[in-house]
């Protein structure tokens, strides 16, 4: 039930990491979610897709990795760096 609060906090952490101007370039947000974290994964993904699909984001994908325990953390961000591919 509190997945939207968690999703909002994930977005805040992303902004803190890369700055507001870079948020449109975020392509993926990696999360570790423990089996005992009290999170309903389907609901969290739905909330994240909703938030990451609206400005300032441009459709970044939530990537959830399940793990043991009650861990709940943002593990990585994938960001387009603005340079063309090699």
């Amino acid at each position: 039930m509190h997945e939207m609060s968690i999703a909002l906090e994930v977005c805040r952490i992303a902004e803190e990491q890369v700055g507001t101007d870079t948020l449109p370039a975020v392509r993926a947000v990696g999360l570790e979610v423990g089996e005992q974290a009290g999170i309903e994964i389907g609901s969290l993904v739905f909330c994240l897709e909703t938030l990451l699909g609206a400005p300032p984001f441009t459709g970044a994908a939530p990537v959830i990795e399940r793990c043991p325990g009650d861990v709940l953390r943002v593990s990585y961000l994938e960001v387009e760096d603005g340079r063309p591919d090699d």
């Binding site: 509190h2 968690i6 009290g38 593990s75 994938e78 340079r83 591919d85």
Partner: protein
Amino acid sequence: MAVRTIDVRERVMARNDQLASGIRERLAGTGVPALNLVSSPGAGKTALLERTLADLSRTYRIAVITGDVQTQNDADRLARHTDRLVQAVVTNGACHLDALQIATALDAIDLDATDLLFIENVGNLVCPAAWDLGETGKVVLLSVTEGEDKPLKYPSAFQRATTLVLTKLDLIPHVPFSLERAVGYALEVNPDLQVLFTSTILPEGLEEWYGFLRAQLHQRRAA
């Protein structure tokens, strides 16, 4: 476009927990025990606090922060039993209280003139368990009109609590509820739980609860 990966490894609850640490320091600085009451809706948190305020607020200076998704009904009920301001937090849809709400509510409470703080969380046995509010201890309530297996169905709330308060013991003759099984399930998920049996209706029904509260007050004063 090339994509780079940024290593983050930040706990989602880090900011809440940082605020909770600040609250814990504020409370420790003034020696005020803070109990975070969590339960399903209807387990009797407000009724327990109403009686507690009516019986003890002339002896102890008790502050209350109470959270509800909508309405200030609980705060209004509690305000009838105390001269102090009851802090109402309306979460507008959120299913739990968070540390920022408590830190803000504490700004309006004179902790130097407070012996004991109750935080009545939103009625919900899932979400409040995950949010540290800087409390001294979580108290989980389970009423005899609920399923005995709630501790197994909602283990986080019982694992993170220090105390289990069984409520509405006066209804035991009328409901198929085994206290023995309920306590057994609770201790199965948290063997360290202190278990108290209460009724706001029966004479002496809150003696164990009041004994527990007095112990909290004495422990903090001795610390």
